[in-house]
């Protein structure tokens, strides 16, 4: 074990210079560095999808379409990371806020409601509606303890789709609201066809998602290092101590809830405009669970970590598993050809969550503070008065 630690330190030293320079730049120019990073990512992804082995998987447009969809999950993950990763409030009903954003857009721009409002204001409206419900849910429940809060949010997350399902008069029930208008952005509609939003052209969605993500990431990144962000982390680590140090825990937690919810609202609006259908079955617990798995795998508390986690998982889900189904079906391998890999994605998430929590609870790309926090228990377990013989004592480094 000691040898492993030594080797790792040596590795860190070697890469130290370049990393320090980048880190220094990133800390001094936070917004700029995010814009640059997002621009690079936005440019590299389509190129990557055009070269083998990725280009063999599926047509290029399908990749770009998949990236835009993955962006929805990245958005959700960045938002949930504020609630769970930074403030330490386990929200198991996050899909409900996603639903509020989506339905807000469906009311604003669909034949069902006879409205045709422009996209960009509705993006803000969706975020505001979701944030309002976040406050409505959060205000009475945030004084509850962590796991009770998890249950309340879970119950809320279950109730919301049921309400959307059963209030048929207002939501068209199971079928949902169809024919939702695709985004229209002023000035853009004067440009040629390849710049227009349509089912056959995923590029505008991709670019729009990159824009939304960049702005949200800048907000989230700057929030994390702000007074508010420090208050969130203080509450996460010790609520009593934070309160004694003058943090207003109620307002701080409410803000985490509202900001997390508003990000989900943005994702909901985008998703509704992209799929052009909003129905209750898009917002079940499976969505909340998927996003939770993404941020746990990516590394709770680290924005880039959760973004990468969300991107990788949703890309695997959308492309790899689907392709595995097709490949095995064509090859006709017994047993494997009848397995629908896509339907077992939750088995993978479940296994991944359990293994992750047991072996590397801080995720693949952890924030340093979070890692120390999650491992401090193990360090102190060895020194505690009562030694639990079965407990791992510093075995996981």
């Amino acid at each position: 074990m000691n040898a492993g630690v030594g080797a790792r330190n040596a590795r860190q030293r070697r890469g130290g210079d370049v990393r320090d320079t980048i880190r220094e730049f990133a800390e001094q120019h936070r917004s700029t560095s995010i814009i640059v990073a997002m621009a690079v990512i936005a440019a590299v992804l389509p190129v990557l999808a055009a070269v083998p082995p990725f280009s063999l998987f599926q047509p290029h447009n399908a990749w770009v379409d998949g990236f835009a969809n993955a962006g929805t999950y990245v958005l959700l993950a960045v938002g949930l990371n504020i609630v769970v990763g930074l403030a330490g409030l386990l929200d198991l009903g996050y899909a409900a806020f996603f639903a509020f954003g989506a339905y807000a857009y469906a009311y604003g721009a669909s034949p069902f409601s006879h409205n045709d409002l422009p996209f960009l204001p509705l993006l803000l409206v969706g975020a505001a509606v979701a944030a309002t419900f976040g406050v409505i849910l959060g205000a009475p429940t945030l004084r509850l303890r962590g796991d009770y809060l998890a249950i309340v949010t879970f119950g809320f997350g279950e109730i919301v789709p049921i309400v959307f399902l059963n209030a048929e008069q207002y939501t068209n029930g199971t079928n949902g609201i169809g024919g939702v208008y695709q985004p229209t952005i002023p000035l853009l509609d004067r440009l040629p066809d390849s710049f227009q939003f349509s089912f056959t052209n995923p590029w505008p969605f991709y670019v729009l998602m990159i824009f939304i993500l960049t702005i949200v990431m800048i907000f989230a990144y700057r929030l994390q290092d702000s007074r508010l962000g420090r208050a969130w982390m203080a509450i996460r680590e010790d609520e009593l101590a934070a309160a004694s140090s003058g943090v207003n825990t109620v307002t701080t937690k409410l803000l985490a809830f509202a900001l997390g919810a508003s990000t989900a609202g943005l994702a909901g609006v985008f998703n509704a405009a992209k799929l052009t259908v909003v129905s209750p079955d898009q917002f079940l617990f499976a969505v909340s669970f998927t996003v939770l798995a993404m941020i746990v795998l990516g590394g709770m508390g680290n924005i880039w970590g959760v973004a990468v986690g969300a991107f990788v998982i949703s890309t695997i889900q959308q492309t790899l598993l689907k392709q595995l189904d097709i490949v095995f079906h064509q090859l006709g391998i017994p047993i494997l050809k009848d397995v629908n890999f896509l339907s077992y994605q939750f088995l993978l998430y479940g296994v991944a969550l359990v293994l992750m929590m047991l072996l590397r609870p801080e995720g693949l790309f952890p924030s340093g503070r979070r890692r120390r926090e999650l491992h401090s228990a193990e360090d102190s377990a060895g020194e505690a008065l009562v030694v639990d013989p079965a407990a791992p004592t510093g075995g996981l480094v």
């Binding site: 429940t141 109730i159 059963n166 798995a293 339907s343 939750f346 998430y349």
Partner: protein
């Protein structure tokens, strides 16, 4: 929400007895009110459904009382129990319908219950050993997320083995046999389920109240470290808690199969959550409260269905859950085992 210490809230024994009496009276009033509201037939259904929820709720409340973990996987242990019973009766014993011969029926029921409860208790202990014990000193979020992961694993294992459609389970006790009781025509299977559930709950109550291990469980719920210093084997006590809770969930799974005649890979999750609501309603950590909470949820659900709001029943149950947590986080009946809210 720092809880007052156990010493401050501990009451002398007579008070506890009167509290049980009070809970009993409340339960009677509840039944009478619903008798007037939904009629005798539905009361019989509600008691049956409530018995199933109560059996599952006991597992939630015991585990929470001892290690303060919401065992999300518990509902899925119940679901696995239903499938074990299904597999045992149809594929191993080769039974596909009701059994009318009382002796054969008794023997079959004993075998099915014994094997299923053993299987689910092994599963429950294994889950605790592999997934929760290593995380006992980790921050609270970690075991909770693990529990959700385990829940999804169990669901998908059942999905893989038994397919996405609901699977028929033999209704061992002929559902056509009725008994006229207090103005209702009650199926024997309903009576059997209710009586069995009550017997199991009394057995649990005796175990927790009268045995050495039961005392270890109660002391661990109050203060794990102090009870360990008094010589309680913490790991053993927690394992026994999971064993008993999972065995009861297994029994609930068998009952569910016999009662409804079907089992499905995803019914453990919602059933489990309703049972958890029951546990919260009764005051989590309080076994009697959990049992009563199960019956309350059963009554709510049946009442909603009989008044034409069946589609809303889950929303109603979860709204009750949220309301209880907000206004009475200690539950309707307060706490008995766990003193740490």
């Amino acid at each position: 929400m720092a809880a007052p210490s156990a010493a401050l809230t501990a009451r002398p024994t007579p008070v506890r007895i009167s509290r049980n009496v009070r809970m009993g009276i409340l339960a009677m009033l509840w039944v009478v009110a619903f008798y007037a509201l939904i009629g005798p037939q539905q009361v019989a259904n509600a008691l049956t459904l409530g018995a199933i929820y109560a059996l599952i709720a006991l597992g939630y409340t015991m585990v929470y009382g001892i290690i303060e973990l919401i065992n999300f996987a518990h509902g899925d242990v119940f679901m696995i129990g239903a499938f074990v019973a299904m597999f045992l009766t149809t594929n191993v014993l080769g039974i596909h319908g009701s059994i009318n011969d009382p002796i054969r029926l008794t023997v079959t029921l004993v075998i099915v219950f014994a094997v299923t409860m053993t299987a689910t208790s092994i599963l429950g202990v294994a889950i605790e050993r592999l997934a929760y014990r290593p995380l006992r000193h980790a921050p609270r979020l970690a075991p909770l997320i693990t529990a959700i992961g385990v829940s999804f694993i169990l669901q998908n294992v059942a999905l893989f083995l038994f397919g996405p459609a609901s699977v028929n389970t033999p209704q061992l006790i002929n559902p056509g046999l009725h008994l006229d009781l207090l103005g209702a025509s009650v199926a024997y299977v309903n009576i059997f389920i209710f009586v069995l559930a009550i017997v199991l709950m009394f057995a649990l109550n005796l175990f927790v109240g009268r045995t050495r291990l039961g005392r270890a469980m109660r002391s661990t719920a109050q203060d794990p470290q102090a009870s360990q210093l008094m010589g309680v084997d913490l790991n053993q006590t927690i394992a026994v808690t999971f064993l008993i809770g999972s065995a009861l969930a297994g029994a609930a799974g068998v009952i569910q199969g016999i009662y409804l005649g079907s089992a499905k890979w995803d019914f453990g999750f919602n059933g489990g959550l309703k049972a958890f609501t029951a546990a919260v309603l009764g005051g989590i950590g309080n076994t009697t409260g959990a049992a009563l909470g199960g019956f309350i949820i059963g009554f709510l659900e049946v009442a909603a269905a009989s008044k034409g709001y069946g589609r809303w029943s889950e929303a109603i149950v979860f709204s009750v859950l949220i309301a209880v947590l907000i206004f009475r986080p200690a539950g309707l009946f307060g706490q008995q085992i766990g003193e740490r809210a």
